[in-house]
């Protein structure tokens, strides 16, 4: 199993930390992982993206130009990465702020109402974990048990009281993800 994933959105949406939690979960499941961020000018207030690879084997290139899955969280990223999904791959997006939904028919498109649901849950900051939940429903690359361990490893201990809330958000995301095409 090798999953080549890109997560792209605005800086501040938790794009890099989603990637980090998935990567740490992979390590907990004894897999090889790489996490490669965009860094530099675009990080300082603009779009942010991270490439995460989780595999059973040694990982070759951490830098990719096409992906098994793209998680898209804003319109700029949709414009940039819709065409980078491999045929047969998965595009998962949050429709909030998306004016031009994906049009490709050779890939599987899913949506997760992350922004709206996070507000309903009373905590906009769990937005990215709702998206992670939707993603893991579609692509179960790691088990929830390993994600819990990954959260323990990647969050400083002062935030460990928030782990149950994050897991609840992941479960919520698994419930609300819907196939579009």
């Amino acid at each position: 199993m090798t999953e080549e994933l890109i997560i792209a959105g605005f800086g501040g949406q938790g794009v890099l930390s989603m990637g980090k939690i998935l990567a740490y979960s992979g390590i907990m499941d004894n897999k090889e992982v790489t996490w490669f961020p965009s860094y530099g000018p675009e990080m300082r207030g603009g779009t942010a993206n991270v490439t995460v690879i989780v595999s059973d084997k040694r990982i070759s290139s951490p830098v990719l130009h096409e992906f098994d899955t793209a998680i898209i969280l804003n319109q700029q990223s949709m414009d940039k990465f819709e065409n980078s999904v491999k045929p047969g791959g998965v595009l998962l997006y949050d429709p909030n702020g998306i004016i031009h939904p994906p049009t490709r028919t050779d890939i599987q498109v899913y949506k997760v109402e992350g922004t709206v649901t996070a507000v309903e849950m009373g905590n906009p900051r769990v937005f990215n974990m709702i998206i992670v939940g939707g993603y893991l429903k579609v692509r179960p690359i790691v088990s929830l048990e390993h994600v819990e361990k990954g959260l323990e490893k990647s969050l400083p201990s002062r935030y460990h009281n928030l782990i149950p809330l994050n897991l609840e958000a992941i479960r919520k995301g698994q419930e609300i993800v819907e196939k579009v095409n």
């Binding site: 980090k20 990567a23 740490y24 390590i27 090889e32 992982v33 790489t34 996490w35 490669f36 961020p37 860094y39 530099g40 000018p41 990982i59 070759s60 290139s61 951490p62 830098v63 990719l64 130009h65 490893k153 990647s154």
Partner: protein
């Protein structure tokens, strides 16, 4: 098994320095390597191992602080990125001229000049051919994973002390910024005063005792005949390094008709390119130099008569390709050697490498 963590290459350089018993780090911040000093400042090793961590006022000051600490037999290091390494060039030449061990890390970014903050490999010439003035060499290691960023800190110090010569880890912004799984080594205590005397007592400025000859650390020699003798001694040392310390990895070369030569981040991209090319029926392998100096010429010379060509893939306009050509020339072969690269902070894609293989041969 050591502790497993998900870490950035830059963070792991700092962690590995503390764990291998490094005595001192002197540096000045520059993107994309600032996490090295940030991690050291967070870890506060001065409270645990006693390691000194100091943000100097400039790169010039940093490298001269390294010079001073190295003269005392201490394990000293600095890190910077391309423009900062240029500023250090004078100090590096002095350290090499004074025959002192130290570690310099270059997390390369695109150049020339201030260039960009994105990853590049365009400081190959600077690292392996010079940078500073005079006939000196840097033992140059090129990690290709976060694990190797960890492992090569200890290796670089070991080689630097073995040969009393500065060593460089030549990496780039991609390896510095990316996170991978890394197994951390256990803590090795810093050497005691007695251990330093034992290992470096014949040359280091450890405090003159009565009856001991005085130790003078300098790269200056006003008598040109003596300076030539010094140079001859350096050259002997470099010959020994070339004979003993070559390291490389050969991937899928057994049946290969075309050989990619690439180090660091490019070598990772090339491994993906090999998977893609072999799906298309192109038999391609990879030589990944781990030591850029000494360069693994022998394996290239050995492959030269057996293959149809070499493609040097670099994030530069083509620098290492010259060393590949020299190796092929010394094997008295006419095997074509080509180059493919992207510059200025752009990473080549695996598909571009496959395209280059198809169009250039």
């Amino acid at each position: 098994m050591g502790e497993l963590r998900l870490m950035k290459g830059n963070e792991v350089l700092a962690e590995a320095a503390i764990r291998c018993g490094c005595d001192a780090y002197f540096g000045y911040p520059i993107t994309p390597q600032s996490e090295v000093m940030e991690t050291l400042m967070e870890q506060r090793p001065w409270d645990t191992t006693g390691m000194v961590v100091l943000q100097a006022e400039s790169e010039v000051a940093s490298i001269n602080m390294v010079y001073g600490a190295a003269a005392a037999g201490k394990k000293a290091m600095t890190s910077s990125s391309s423009p900062g390494i240029s500023l250090m060039a004078e100090g590096i030449s002095y350290i090499a001229g004074a025959e002192l061990p130290c570690l310099i890390v270059n997390v390369q970014r695109g150049g020339p000049g201030l260039g960009t903050i994105q990853p590049s490999q365009a400081d190959y010439f600077q690292a392996v051919k010079g940078g500073g003035h005079g006939d000196y060499r840097l033992i140059t290691l090129a990690p290709a994973s976060v694990q190797e960023m960890h492992d090569f800190v200890k290796l670089a110090f070991d080689l630097a002390f073995k040969y009393r010569n500065p060593a460089m880890i030549l990496t780039d912004g991609a390896l510095g910024q990316m996170m991978e799984k890394v197994e951390l080594a256990d803590y090795t205590p810093r050497r005691t005063k007695e251990e330093i005397l034992d290992q470096c007592g014949s040359w280091a400025t450890t405090g003159k005792t009565s009856g001991r000859e005085k130790h003078v650390i300098t790269s200056l020699e006003m008598d040109s005949h003596k300076m030539e003798q010094n140079n001859l001694r350096f050259q002997e040392k470099f010959k020994e390094i070339e004979a003993t310390e070559v390291r490389y990895e050969a991937i899928r070369c057994e049946d290969a008709e075309l050989i990619l030569v690439a180090f660091g981040t490019s070598s990772r991209i090339c491994q993906k390119a090999i998977e893609l090319a072999r799906e298309k029926g192109i038999k391609v392998g990879l030589i990944r130099p781990i030591t850029l100096y000494p360069f693994p010429s022998a394996i290239i010379a050995e492959l030269a008569p057996k293959v149809k060509g070499f493609l040097s893939v670099e994030m530069s306009a083509g620098q290492m390709v010259e060393d590949v050509k020299l190796a092929v020339y010394e094997a008295r072969c006419t095997t074509p050697v080509k180059h493919f690269g992207r510059m200025g902070g752009i990473l080549p894609s695996p598909n571009e490498v496959v395209d280059a293989l198809e169009t250039k041969f």
